[in-house]
């Protein structure tokens, strides 16, 4: 069975590398985007199974990116992974399959990824 592919959208380089490494250890293929516009393009051109999306990014932020991803691939599973819980009151974030607050423990993120991809 081929590896499930995750698109990781994260502007902070070190965080991006860490998450990529950790998710690859779990057996996933990870492609990275450092900004919204690139993520939208990757979604349009590459097959992937799940998006992990940071919200605070320069230029196109995560919420705008989320909307654009939705209209390209409506049923794309999306996990919002952000340091800020307060964006929940931006209603477009409700379209994500999960909204996780960043922590040093990557356990909850990995579990959520597995749950969503397991369901798929």
């Amino acid at each position: 069975m081929s590896k499930k592919k995750i698109l990781l959208v994260e502007d902070e380089e070190n965080e991006s590398l860490l998450y990529k490494e950790e998710l690859e250890k779990e057996g996933f293929e990870v492609i990275s985007s450092s900004n919204g516009a690139d993520a939208v393009e990757k979604i349009a051109n590459e097959e992937c199974d799940l998006v992990i999306l940071d919200l605070q990014m320069p230029q196109m932020d995560g919420i705008e990116t989320l909307g654009k991803i939705l209209t390209k691939k409506r049923d794309m599973p999306i996990i919002i992974y952000t340091a800020y819980p307060q964006y929940k009151n931006q209603f477009l974030t409700w379209a994500a399959d999960a909204y996780l607050t960043k922590s040093s423990d990557l356990g909850p993120l990995k579990r959520k990824v597995k749950t969503i991809l397991g369901e798929k």
Binding site: G67, K68, L70, T71, K72, R74, D75, N89, Q90, F91, L92, W94, A95
Partner: protein
């Protein structure tokens, strides 16, 4: 509930294709009605009469005429007091698509709900003719602690197959079927069915949850009637509110005018001695925008060259100059010249009917000059070659038609 906590969305993006050619140049909510009104004047007047002052109108197709009408006629609120009627054209705020359906139009304007954070949202259709106090529905919604309330209208069992039919138990909706072959009757009266009027009251969180959920579906048409409501039945706390008519007649009046024939009949009702739709009730006024014209006038009273008007509504600026008008509705600034005859017809603004012309069972759209000695509605075979003729034989002359 304080009306400031309620935001009204009027969904006015529909194409209204079945009303073509009246919708050739305008969206259905902008179609004229009753001489001086546009269809959208009805939900708007209802909202104002219900004390609602935060109104958004979502527009999409052929919206110029509608925008103009709202701008010219409905700029009546004080934004300083937080009151407004805002036109919201499709903006592609979220993606690259226009509104895919009524639910999508709410989804694409989700930012409005973020900004307003209303407790309740009233969702209306922009193209229905009726008189309703939405406060009664809102009170019902609150009293039942409903999540989502659908206003329902009773129709005879035999007609229900054309509509979205609800089955209710103690006002709670337990089933919803679009155009069912065997519609479920109303438990209170087996002769009738309860159909959705496309008028909804929703709690904020439920509405967001449902439109967002729907936006993620690839097999959805993103429509409240077709997608959102069926998905709520069973799991949701959905109630049916039985329409209370402010028209105060024996028969309840609610018209979702879907065809040229229905349009013609609804206008013809107005010229009856006692019309079903009462436009004269000052307790529930229907307002509109009108250009200022002098009062309607008739001239010539000779034996043969004689102006005559019977059983008709004649708007301002019309001059019946030696012609005859019977059982017809004339919008503003229509000229009926000598020896011309208009019967059973609807004539829009800025139309000139030439001498000796005879018009029968026709709808003449704006800015048409009918040449002298023209006959419309007497030989449908001939009319069909030039014009749209409805099932019931109503001839429609489109806007700006040139002979």
């Amino acid at each position: 509930m304080n009306p400031r906590d309620i935001t009204t969305f009027i969904l006015a993006g529909g194409k209204g294709e079945r009303l073509h050619p009246l919708t050739k140049d305008r969206t259905k909510p902008a179609v004229p009605f009753g001489g001086i009104y546009r269809m959208i004047d009805f939900p708007l007047s209802n909202a104002i009469n219900s004390g609602l002052r935060k109104i958004y109108i979502f527009t999409q197709y052929k919206s110029l005429s509608l925008h103009r009408h709202i701008r010219e006629g409905w700029n009546i609120f004080s934004r300083e007091l937080g009151e407004f009627i805002d036109l919201v054209p499709a903006q592609k705020r979220i993606g690259e698509d226009w509104y895919q359906g009524t639910a999508d139009s709410v989804f694409q304007n989700i930012n409005i709900l973020e900004d307003e954070k209303p407790k309740l949202i009233l969702l209306l259709s922009g193209d229905q003719v009726y008189k309703m106090d939405y406060r009664r529905m809102i009170d019902f919604h609150l009293a039942n602690k409903s999540d989502f309330t659908i206003s329902v209208f009773e129709v005879p069992l035999s007609e229900a197959h054309r509509f979205g039919v609800l089955r209710v138990e103690n006002d709670r909706v337990v089933e919803f079927r679009e155009k069912p072959s065997e519609p479920s009757p109303d438990p209170r009266n087996p002769e009738v069915c309860l159909i959705s009027m496309g008028i909804y009251v929703a709690n904020l969180d439920i509405l967001i949850k449902k439109v967002v959920e729907d936006a993620k579906k690839t097999n959805s048409s993103h429509d409240f009637g077709k997608d959102i409501i069926p998905s709520m039945i069973g799991s949701g706390n959905v109630f049916a509110f039985r329409f209370i008519d402010e028209n105060k007649k024996e028969t309840k009046y609610w018209h979702d005018i879907g065809t040229i024939d229905a349009y013609w009949e609804a206008n013809m009702d107005l010229v009856n001695v006692d019309p079903l739709l009462n436009l004269y009730d000052r307790e529930w006024p229907i307002r509109t925008f009108q250009e200022q014209y002098p009062p309607a006038k008739t001239v010539f009273s000779g034996e043969e060259r004689k102006a005559s008007v019977t059983d008709s509504m004649i708007s301002g600026g019309c001059i019946i100059s030696g012609g005859r008008v019977s059982h017809s509705v004339l919008s503003t600034n229509v000229r009926v010249n000598s020896y011309a005859e208009i019967t059973d017809s609807i004539v829009f603004e800025n139309v000139n009917i030439g001498r000796h012309s005879k018009i029968n069972k026709a709808i003449i759209d704006k800015k048409v000059t009918v040449p002298s000695n023209t006959e419309i509605g007497y030989n449908l075979e001939a009319d069909r070659k030039r014009f749209y003729v409805s099932d019931k034989g109503i001839v429609v002359i489109p806007k700006n038609y040139k002979w």
